[in-house]
């Protein structure tokens, strides 16, 4: 019988340290058949398994059209992620996926995009940005707004500079606190919104980051009459199965693992902003 809980063996084919506690792994199923059948959309995630520890949900950051490449960018926060960080090329781990509903990259075609990221290296939004930039012709103006705690948190500076070179792309950066050399802004991400040249009816907002930041962005975008169904975010909850069975990722009537992790505001409005839901 097909057991959907069971991971498959995967191999690390490349690894890259982004910062001291952020790293990327490129994985490949060792079974070529499984690998060749693997398809995903940006915003979906995999379950990564280290034997004797646990499985953890991790977003896929590679481009879905780069068939056969499965990339993850992971922050070492606890035991499993730290041990993932110790993997070397050739090491084996368990992998299953992809799961969940990704970003509405097709629905959002022909609209302006506002992509807001809080915290650094928020994996789901990086994959989204890379995706839309590569298919820039399908979208209107693209505003990328990134907020971090401290200016020294910024990674991938080159990447921002690269993004800035695209036509019709604007990159806005801000830090809660910064040092003297910080060339960008200080303060919350919402400070940029007045300068955004967007048509609320023709804009899709997509964001990922701490729930507090997302709340502020939602509030602001609603003031600007962006419809709730065009405000999207990627949510995080505890997950053990990723199949909608274990019940741990519930958020109101939603199972984040299968109904999300990407939701629009209207879907979550009844639960939005209440502590402990």
């Amino acid at each position: 019988m097909n057991n959907p809980f069971m991971p498959h063996e995967a191999e690390v084919i490349a690894r890259h340290d982004e910062t001291a506690d952020l790293f990327s792994l490129q994985l490949r199923f060792t079974d070529p058949l499984i690998h060749s059948q693997y398809r995903f959309v940006p915003g979906q995630f995999n379950m990564l398994y280290l034997p004797g520890m646990s499985e953890v949900p991790i977003s896929i950051v590679s481009d879905p059209d780069d068939v056969h490449i499965i990339d993850h960018t992971i922050r070492k926060v606890g035991s499993v992620t730290s041990n993932l960080g110790r993997l070397q090329v050739g090491d084996r781990l368990g992998l299953r996926g992809p799961y969940g509903r990704g970003w509405p990259v097709v629905d959002a075609e022909n609209t302006d995009l506002v992509i807001v990221t809080g915290g650094l290296g928020c994996a789901p939004s990086v994959s989204l940005i890379e995706y839309v930039l590569r298919r820039q012709a399908r979208y209107g103006r693209i505003h990328i707004i990134q907020g971090v705690k401290h200016s020294s948190d910024f990674i991938w500076r080159e990447r921002y500079d690269l993004w800035r070179q695209y036509p019709n792309v604007e990159v806005w950066l801000t830090a809660d606190t910064g040092d003297t050399l910080w060339p960008e802004r200080l303060g919350p991400v919402t400070q940029f919104f007045d300068q955004l040249d967007i048509d609320p009816k023709q804009t899709s907002v997509m964001m990922c980051g701490p729930e507090g930041m997302m709340k502020a962005v939602v509030h602001d975008m609603q003031q600007r009459a962006v419809p709730g169904k065009r405000i999207w975010f990627s949510m995080e909850r505890n997950m053990h199965c990723a199949l909608g069975s274990c019940g741990r990722c519930q958020l109101g009537a939603k199972f984040v693992c299968k109904d999300g992790p990407v939701f629009n505001y209207d879907e979550l409005a009844p639960y939005w902003g209440h502590k402990g839901v």
């Binding site: 809980f5 069971m6 053990h240 274990c246 009537a253 639960y271 402990g276």
Partner: protein, 369 residues
């Protein structure tokens, strides 16, 4: 519809024997450790004959009843959940070979065709919710499915309600309506049997028993009606999802922060709760692991832990999650409430918190604010 037949009380053993010879292991209710539990049943005298249950919030006692009936009790400590969604089982195993490669193995469940005697209407309603959850999604659960498919269910229509029962309020009882193979109505002199499936009918035919009389059928109906009338607990008029979700900041939740132990008993005895935790067990040399799932509860802080925070960090949040999910958001997920009215969460709450009482307060006049 199949005709209803009558099995004299003294011949009940022949039903057990018939099921056995049809290849089933037989499971039935019996008294153990001051409660009624399901366990392997060989002889009719293992049944709780002449035993009844007295239930109240936080209280369960067995007593002698006036009758010699076998099913003169309302609900036991558990529904049949432990037989389909088992409390602890291995989902799969992995092994690391000396060359560093990893292999994964399925752990097959060993099931035997099993007939369960004494399944109540509420238990059946709960089972059908679990069938929906575990078998009908995009990823059917092979372990659940296999256990579920090995069951032969013999329902018993309730003729007595405990003080904590409220299945009339949820519409799930006291008469079992679907999801069983055979149903029993117990009269003082014996049982009315009705088949709901072909294999149920086979068993009846094998028993070679007569039709029940109209009078017997009427008496059974009256008994079931009586059970319905005994029920006192009610629910606010549904659907409740909107009412409960909009009660999210109701001050009542705070009182539950003080009263609720967050022990999770209500969720563990609830026949529809399905939350799990998955844990890894590892051999001493680190080469073999078992990935195990076990019952878990939204009352445990771990349940909503993500790195660095517990989302439902207060007891009040967790009580709110339980009640709002069970009676409210369940509607969107499953097309119906998650409550089947068995009353177990009221009885088995060590401090006797009563969901019907809480709902009454929480749903009063909040909808159209």
């Amino acid at each position: 519809m199949n005709r209803q037949r009558f099995l004299p009380g003294e011949r009940f053993q022949s039903l057990i024997d018939q099921l056995k010879s049809a290849g089933y292991d037989v499971v039935g209710p019996q008294v153990r450790d001051h409660a009624i539990v399901f366990d392997a049943l060989a002889k009719v005298d293992q049944l709780p004959i002449g035993i009844t249950d007295e239930q109240a919030p936080g209280r369960y006692r067995l007593e002698k009843s006036e009758s010699r009936r076998c099913f003169d009790w309302a609900t036991g400590a558990q529904a049949i959940k432990p037989m389909t969604f088992v409390a602890r089982e291995t989902l799969w195993q992995s092994e690391r070979l000396p060359d560093g490669s990893l292999t994964f193995h399925e752990t097959l469940v060993k099931t035997r065709p099993t007939a369960i005697i004494g399944v109540r209407a509420c238990d059946l309603a709960a089972l059908s919710i679990h069938d929906h959850h575990f078998m009908r999604g995009a990823h059917p659960d092979p372990l659940y499915s296999q256990r579920r498919q090995s069951l032969f269910l013999i329902a018993v229509h309730c003729m007595r309600s405990a003080a904590t029962c409220f299945c009339t309020a949820t519409g799930d009882g006291p008469r079992a309506r679907s999801g069983y193979d055979l149903a029993l109505s117990e009269l003082d002199e014996g049982f009315i049997l009705e088949a709901h499936t072909g294999r149920g009918l086979d068993i009846i035919v094998q028993l070679g028993i007569d039709e029940a009389t109209v009078e017997q059928i009427e008496r059974a109906d009256a008994g079931i009606g009586q059970a319905a009338k005994q029920q006192q607990r009610i629910l606010p008029v549904g659907p409740l999802q909107e009412k409960l979700v909009s009660a999210v900041e109701h001050p009542r939740w705070q009182t539950l922060n003080d009263r609720c132990l967050s022990c999770g008993n209500c969720t563990a005895v609830c026949p529809t709760c399905f939350c799990q935790t998955h844990v890894d067990e590892i051999s001493l040399d680190g080469q073999q692991t078992s990935h195990i799932r076990q019952w878990e509860s939204c009352f445990n802080p771990d349940h909503s832990h993500i790195h660095g925070i517990v989302i439902r960090s207060e007891r009040a949040h967790r009580y709110r999650q339980w009640l709002t999910h069970k009676f409210g958001t369940w509607e969107e997920q499953f097309g119906r409430s998650g409550c089947v009215g068995c009353g177990r969460c009221i009885t088995w709450c060590p401090v006797g918190i009563d969901v019907t009482e809480e709902l009454a307060v929480l749903c009063k006049g909040l909808v159209n604010e």
